[in-house]
Symmetry: C2
Subunit: 756 residues, 2 copies
C-alpha cells in the first residue's frame, strides 16, 4: 500500500462503519430467547455424564462397566477404546477428551455414560469400577522441569536442546530466538534490572459451561449442537475421533455464553457423539461448574526471568527473557506466543528469548485471550517499570524512547508495517488520568502490550432477498459483536441501511470452512470476506442493471446503494436501487448472491497502553483498583461500543488475573477451588468504570483498516496492575495473583528488611 | 440442442447417475431420529391452538377474548387484526390463515390462543366468544355457479366473460383457449362421444399434520421451524403477514412426513409467529388430523364435460372440454392447469377448452400432485376409452394414432420439443400386462397423462471439505429423494464417490431463494443448479492445480475426479485428486466452494401411460385393483428406485382418489368425515404390487436429460381405474369416487335399463 492510499484510508468517510447500532443479540439474551448449548433437546434424548479421575496421575489398569450397564435406564458406556485412532495433530486432544492408558490430572475423563436421566447417569458413574495404579505427580512448572520429577509421558523427549536427550522429560521443547548480541548489549548498559516472575493458572471464567447435544445414526450420519468458538474445528476434531467423513457430521454453533479462548477445542462433544452412536439416541452432555474448572482448559501457570539493560538516558541496550509455561498434561502451552510477544513493543538491537513448553499433572491448557502474552508482558513490563524508576525516567517516556514503529524489525522476526504503538503511548501520556493526583497508599501503573491478530480460512455468503433486505451468512461464532460489525461492513459496502441486513452463523454444511473465532481474527478476516462477498454481489447487481438497460456491464457503477450508468456513452438512465434490482431478480436470471472463500492474509498487529491506579490497604494487603484507562489501536473501530466493550472486558479479566484468580492444588494434586465461590473473579463492586480511548492507525491489509481488538486488551493489565500495586505498596511484586496475603507478606517482608 | 448432442445425451454413460444408493434419510426415518415439524422445542415454549368456525358461511360480528385472556396460563390471543395488510398476491392466503370479516367454511380459523399447555389453550378456545351471523352456504361447484347461489365475496366479479358482469358471482374467471375450428372438426367426425364427469374433493393424505415452532422477539427478529415443501415461500408469506423484512425471519424446514402439494402454502405458521410476537415466547402449533381435513388444502371437486369426435380409422377431428373446478372459499383452483393438460397428450387440429374457477364454502384448495391434471385426464381419457370402444379400436392404438410428438403444437400453445409419449404407449402395448388374460367381472383400463414439470428460482452451494468429502447445500425440501439424487449428480460431475457427498437442506438465511419443491421441479432445477455449482467448484479446483503446477488455468482439465494437465505444452504432472487439492486449500487461497443461483429454464414435459386390471363384485359394487403397471418417461432416472417409488406412489394415490376418497359435506355445510376412519385412503391390502417401466427420452434442457417424475404419475390413474372398473362393471362410470354404493347403483341402473 502506498502512502497516498494509506492516507486515503485514514481519511475515508464512512456512513455506517463507526456508528453504534443496537446489538442484534441483545434482546434475545436479556429475554432468555437466545439458545445456548444446553437449550436444545431432541425426541428420545439421553443424558450423558462423564466419570473423571480423582487422581492427579494414575495408570488405568482396567475399566469394568458391567454393573453400570446392568442398571435400568443406562443405554451406553464409552471409554477411550470407543474412539478412532487419530492423526498426530489430534492425538493429545483425543487423549484429553478421554484418558487412554493413564489419567493425567484430577478431573481427567476416563469413561462416560448415557442414560435416560441425569440421576440414572450419575448413579451409573458410581457403578463403573476403574482400577487405578496411583503414580507420583507434579503440578508446578519448575518442579516439573526437575530431573527427579515424575514423568508424564515416557515417550516425550525435549526437542530443541543438544545433545539430544536420552531420557524422557516433562519439557516438550526449548525454543530460542532473537537478534543482535545480548551479552554485548548488557555490557553497554548503565543499569540492568533482572527479576524472576511467576503467574498462576487462571480460568477464562465464562458463565456458560460447555454443553452440547449430539446424535449419530446407525447410518453414520451425525449432527451436533454445541457452544463453541469454532464449530468447523469441532466438526473436524469430532469427525476424526469418530472416524467419520467430514461431510457426515453437521455442526451448528449455539449462542455462546463466553469463551475467551476456552471454547476453541473439544471436551464433551466427541463424547456425546460416541455415546449417541452406541446408544442409538441423541445424547446431551452439560458440564457442571466443577467439571469446567477441573477438566476444561485453563491457561498456563508460568515462571519467567526477564533482564533488561539500558543507558542512563533510557535507551535499551539488551533484553533477555526465559519463559517456562506448563500447558497441563499435554504439549502445547502458549509459551512460544508469549515469547514472541514479550518484547514486541520495542525496537531492540539485542534481544534473546528462550521458551520452555512443559507438561504437568493439570488439565490441558486452552487458549485464553492473547494466549501467553499477558504473562510475558507482566514480566517484561514489570522490569520496564522498575528500570524507569532506577533511571528516574517517566515510564511512558522510557517506552516512547524505545517504541517499535513502522519499519522496526520486531523481536520475533518480521518488520512491522504501519503500527500504532507510539500513538497509544502519546494518547496515554496526554490523558487526564495520567496526571491526576494520587492519595496515600495509592500507586499508578502503566504497561503496554502487543498482539498479532490472525487471519485464516474464512467463508461468507450474502444473499439478497426480493425486498432488498439481505441475509449475511458467516461461519465464525459471534463472541464479541461480529454479527453487528459484519452487518455494518456489508451495509457500508452495499450502500443500504444496516437494519436491512441480518447476520447469521451458518452451520458447517451450509458454508465452507471457517477457522475458529480466536486470535482477534473475526472482524479482520470475516470482515474482509464480507466486503469481498458484498463486492461480488455488487458485480452481479451491476450486471443485472446493465442487462436491464442494454448497456455493457463495465458501463455500470455501484454508488450509494444504486447501480448507475457511468461514462459518456453509457446512456441516461435512472439509477436502480439494490431493492429494485433484487425485486426482479427471478426474471433476470435468478436470485443474487455474493460469495467469498479465502485464507485471509494481511492481519495487522496491534498495541495497547493501560494506566491503572490502585490503593493498597496496609493492614490487610487488599488492593483496590481506583481508576483504569485503556488506550488501544483498533486500526478501525467498526462498532465503537463493541470495541470499548472488548477493551473493558480485557482489562477486567486482567484485573482478576492480577489480583485474585488462581488454580490452587493440594499436595494430593487435586484442585481445591473448583467453584466461583473459591475461585474469585472480579465482581462489579471490585471495579471502577473502565475508561477507554480508541486509537485508529489503519491496517493497510484490510479495506477499512481493521486490526482486531479482543486480545491486545488483556495483555497489559497484569503488568499495569502489578506496577500500580507495587507502587502503592512500596515494594516490587513479582508473583501473581496479588492476593491480600501475598501483598501483606511483601509489605511485612519489606518492613522487616527496613527494620533489619 | 442439435440432433447429435441429443444422441450424445441418450448414449452418455454414467457412473453414479442411474445407480441405486441407499436413501440418506432411510435410517433416520425408521429409527425415529428424523425431526419432523412437531419434534422441535424451545425453552419457555407455549402451545398454540386455533379456534375454528363451526359454520360454513358466517359474518363475524365480533370476537371477545377477554375471558380467555383472563384464564391463568393464557399468554396471547390473536385474530386477523393482529396481522399486517398484505399485497394482493397474499390477501387470500392471509384471510384463509385467519378469517377477516367472514368465516367462509367449516373449520376456517377465526382466532388463536397461546398458553402454557395444550390443555389450557384448549380450554381458552372455549372461552372465546365469537358473535356469528350465519349466512346461507354452498359447497357444490355447479350449485355455486347458479344465479341464486349465496355469494361468498361481494367484490368478486367474473373475469373473462362479456359483457362485463354487473353483479358479484362465485365464478372467479372463465378462460377459453385452443386452436383450429372445433365445430368444423366435429362435422368431420364419424363418431362423437360426449360425457359429463364429476370428481370429489380429496386430500393429499400426508401422514404428518402441519406443525411448527415459531418465535419472534421484541426486536422483531423471528425464527420458524416447520414442515413445508417450501420454506423460502413460507418465509416470504409469514414475513408479509407479520410486516417483517425478509431478512428478519429465518425459516428452517423440518423433515417432512408427506406433502404432495398440500404443504406448499401456510396455515398455522403465521399464527405461531403472531402468537409468539404477542406472548414474547416461542409458540408451537400442531394441527390435529381433524384440523388437517377441515382446514388445510384439499384439492378441488369438479364438474367436467368432454366431447371428442373421430373418424372411423381413429383420427381425432375435434376435441372440446368444459371444466368447472371449485377451489374452496378463495380464487385459485387449478382449473387452468387442468385445462392446459386435458388434451396435451394429443396432436389435435381442432381443440377448445373452457375453464371456470369457482369458489364455494369449503377450505381453500391447495396443490395436490399435478394440480388439476388428474381430473381433466379422468374426463378426457374416459371419453377416449369410450371412443376406442365405439370405433372398435385398441385404446393404445387410438392414442398412438393421435399422439403428440416432437414438433406437435400442444393443445395449450407451445410446440413440443423431444418428448416420450409415443415411447410410453409402445412400451405399454408391449408389456406382458397388456395382453394378459382377464377373468369374469374383470376389466382392463388404459389411460395416459401429461405434466409440464417446472423450473424456477434455485440456489445451491457446494463446499469441499479438507478430507475431500463434500457438503451440498440445497434449498428445496426433500420430498421424494432429492438428497440422494442431488448427491448423485454432484458425485457424477465431480468424479468422486457418492458416499463422499452429504446433501442438506439449508435454511432461508444460508442460501438464496428457492422456489417450492413442487411441479416436479426439484430433480430438474436443483439438479441443474447442483451440476452448475459442481462445475464452478471444478473450475476452482483446476485453478488450484494450475497454481500448484505453475501452468495456465486453461491447461488443466477435470477428468474422473482429478485435475490433469491438458495439451501439448501443459507439462507432465501427476494428476491431483479432489481430495488432494482440497487438503491443501487453506494454503493455496482458502476453502473451495461452488455456487449457483439461477432461474432454471428448459424443463421438459413428460408423459405416462398406465394399465390397470380391476375386478368388480356385482353383489356389493366393490372394485378391487388386481394388477397395475405404470409406464412413464423420466427423461433420465437419476435414482431409479426413487423414480419407481414416485410412479408407484402416484398410482396408489390415484387409486384412492378413483375408488374411495371424497370430502363429504352435510346439508349444514360441515365436513362429515374429517378422519382417516371415515375418509378412506388405500391401505396395503387394497393394492397389488405396482409394476413400473421407466422410459428415458432425455430432456435437452438438462445436462443429464432429467424431466421430473413426481406428478405425471398421478395423472392417468383416475381415468385408468375408471376405464377398468367400467369395463369390469359393463357400464360407463363418470362420477368419482367409484365407491361400492355408486358402482352398485350403476350396475343396478344398467340392469333396470336392460330389463326395460
Amino acid at each position: 500500500m502506498t502512502a497516498s492510499s494509506e492516507n486515503a484510508l485514514k481519511e475515508r468517510q464512512f456512513k455506517i462503519v463507526g456508528t453504534r447500532p443496537l446489538r442484534p443479540d441483545g434482546i434475545d439474551k436479556v429475554t432468555g430467547r437466545a439458545r445456548f448449548g444446553a437449550d436444545m433437546t431432541a425426541p428420545g434424548m439421553l443424558i450423558g455424564k462423564v466419570l473423571r479421575s480423582p487422581h492427579a496421575h494414575a495408570r488405568i489398569r482396567g475399566i469394568d462397566a458391567s454393573k453400570a450397564l446392568a442398571l435400568a435406564g443406562v443405554k451406553a458406556v464409552v471409554t477411550h477404546a470407543d474412539f478412532s485412532k487419530v492423526g498426530a495433530d489430534l492425538d493429545d486432544v483425543s487423549c484429553n477428551v478421554m484418558a487412554r492408558d493413564k489419567a493425567l490430572y484430577d478431573g481427567h475423563a476416563v469413561a462416560a455414560v448415557a442414560a435416560v436421566s441425569g440421576a440414572v447417569a450419575a448413579k451409573a458413574l458410581r457403578l463403573i469400577d476403574v482400577s487405578y495404579e496411583i503414580l507420583p505427580h507434579v503440578t508446578d512448572v519448575e518442579a516439573a522441569m526437575g530431573a527427579d520429577a515424575p514423568v508424564l509421558h515416557e515417550d516425550m523427549f525435549t526437542s530443541g536442546i543438544r545433545p539430544k536427550p536420552d531420557r524422557a522429560s516433562n519439557v516438550v521443547h526449548r525454543h530460542e530466538f532473537g537478534h543482535g548480541d545480548v551479552a554485548q548489549g548488557f555490557e553497554q548498559a548503565d543499569v540492568v534490572v533482572e527479576r524472576h516472575f511467576t503467574t498462576a493458572a487462571t480460568h477464562q471464567g465464562y458463565i456458560e459451561p460447555h454443553a452440547c447435544l449430539g446424535s449419530v445414526g446407525p447410518d453414520g450420519q451425525g449432527e451436533l449442537w454445541c457452544c463453541t468458538q469454532g464449530h468447523f474445528y469441532v466438526r473436524n476434531a469430532c469427525a476424526a475421533m469418530l472416524g467419520m467423513d467430514l461431510s457426515h457430521l453437521r455442526v451448528t454453533a449455539s449462542e455462546i455464553g463466553g469463551g475467551f479462548g476456552g471454547k476453541t477445542t473439544v471436551f464433551i462433544e466427541p463424547v456425546a457423539l460416541a455415546l449417541s452412536r452406541k446408544a442409538g439416541r441423541p445424547v446431551k452432555v452439560v458440564m457442571s461448574r466443577e467439571e469446567v474448572f477441573r477438566a476444561s482448559g485453563p491457561t498456563s501457570s508460568t515462571a519467567m526471568t526477564v533482564k533488561i539493560g539500558a543507558t542512563r538516558d533510557g535507551r535499551i541496550t539488551a533484553a533477555e527473557a526465559e519463559l517456562k509455561f506448563q500447558g497441563g498434561a499435554f504439549a502445547g502451552s502458549p509459551v512460544d506466543l508469549g515469547a514472541m510477544t514479550a518484547f514486541a513493543c520495542y525496537d531492540l538491537k539485542n534481544v534473546k528469548t528462550v521458551a520452555y513448553d512443559v507438561v504437568a499433572n493439570r488439565p490441558k491448557q486452552a487458549a485464553y485471550r492473547a494466549p501467553g502474552a499477558p504473562m510475558a508482558a507482566f514480566a517484561v513490563e514489570g522490569v520496564m517499570d522498575e528500570l524507569a524508576g532506577k533511571i528516574g525516567m517517566d515510564p511512558i517516556a522510557l517506552r516512547l524512547k524505545n517504541a517499535a514503529e513502522a519499519g522496526t524489525q520486531s523481536s520475533y522476526g518480521p518488520k512491522f508495517g504501519p503500527i500504532g504503538f507510539v500513538e497509544t503511548l502519546v494518547a496515554a501520556r496526554e490523558h487526564a488520568h495520567y496526571s491526576a493526583p494520587l492519595g496515600p497508599h495509592q500507586g499508578r501503573g502503566v504497561a503496554s502490550g502487543f498482539w498479532f491478530n490472525f487471519g485464516g480460512q474464512t467463508c461468507v455468503s450474502l444473499n439478497l432477498h426480493a425486498d432488498g433486505s439481505v441475509a449475511l451468512a458467516v461461519g465464525t461464532p459471534d463472541i464479541g459483536g461480529s454479527r453487528a460489525s459484519m452487518g455494518q461492513m456489508a451495509a457500508e459496502e452495499l450502500g443500504i441501511d444496516y437494519d436491512k441486513i441480518h447476520t447469521i452463523i451458518a452451520d458447517t454444511s451450509s458454508l465452507g470452512y471457517n477457522d475458529i473465532s480466536e486470535g482477534s481474527r473475526v472482524t479482520f478476516s470475516t470482515g474482509l470476506a464480507t466486503i469481498q462477498a458484498a463486492r461480488d454481489a455488487i458485480t452481479k447487481l451491476c450486471g443485472r442493471a446493465a442487462q436491464f438497460w442494454g448497456i455493457p456491464e463495465d458501463a455500470v457503477v455501484w454508488e450509494d446503494g444504486h447501480a448507475r450508468p457511468a461514462g459518456a456513452n453509457a446512456g441516461d438512465f435512472e439509477p436502480l436501487s439494490l431493492a429494485e434490482i433484487a425485486a426482479t431478480a427471478a426474471k433476470t436470471g435468478g436470485p443474487i448472491a455474493g460469495h467469498c472463500e479465502i485464507s485471509a492474509e494481511g492481519a495487522g498487529v496491534s498495541f495497547a497502553t493501560h494506566i491503572v491506579d490502585a490503593e493498597v490497604d496496609p493492614e490487610t494487603g487488599r488492593a483496590q483498583i481506583l481508576r483504569y484507562t485503556v488506550v488501544q489501536d483498533a486500526g478501525k473501530a467498526i462498532h465503537p461500543s463493541y470495541v470499548e466493550g472488548q477493551y473493558q472486558g480485557g482489562a477486567v479479566q486482567g484485573i482478576g488475573w492480577a489480583l485474585n484468580e488462581e488454580y490452587i492444588y493440594g499436595d494430593d494434586g487435586r484442585l481445591q477451588n473448583p467453584s466461583f465461590l473459591d475461585y474469585r473473579i472480579p465482581v462489579a463492586s471490585d471495579l471502577p468504570m473502565i475508561d477507554t480511548v480508541i486509537v485508529e492507525v489503519p491496517n493497510p491489509g484490510h479495506p477499512y483498516g481493521v486490526r482486531g481488538v479482543g486480545e491486545t486488551s488483556i495483555v497489559p493489565p497484569l503488568a499495569a496492575v502489578a506496577n500500580a500495586v507495587s507502587a502503592a505498596a512500596g515494594v516490587r511484586l513479582t508473583e501473581l495473583p496479588l492476593s491480600p496475603p501475598r501483598v501483606l507478606e511483601a509489605i511485612d517482608g519489606m518492613a522487616a528488611e527496613d527494620e533489619a
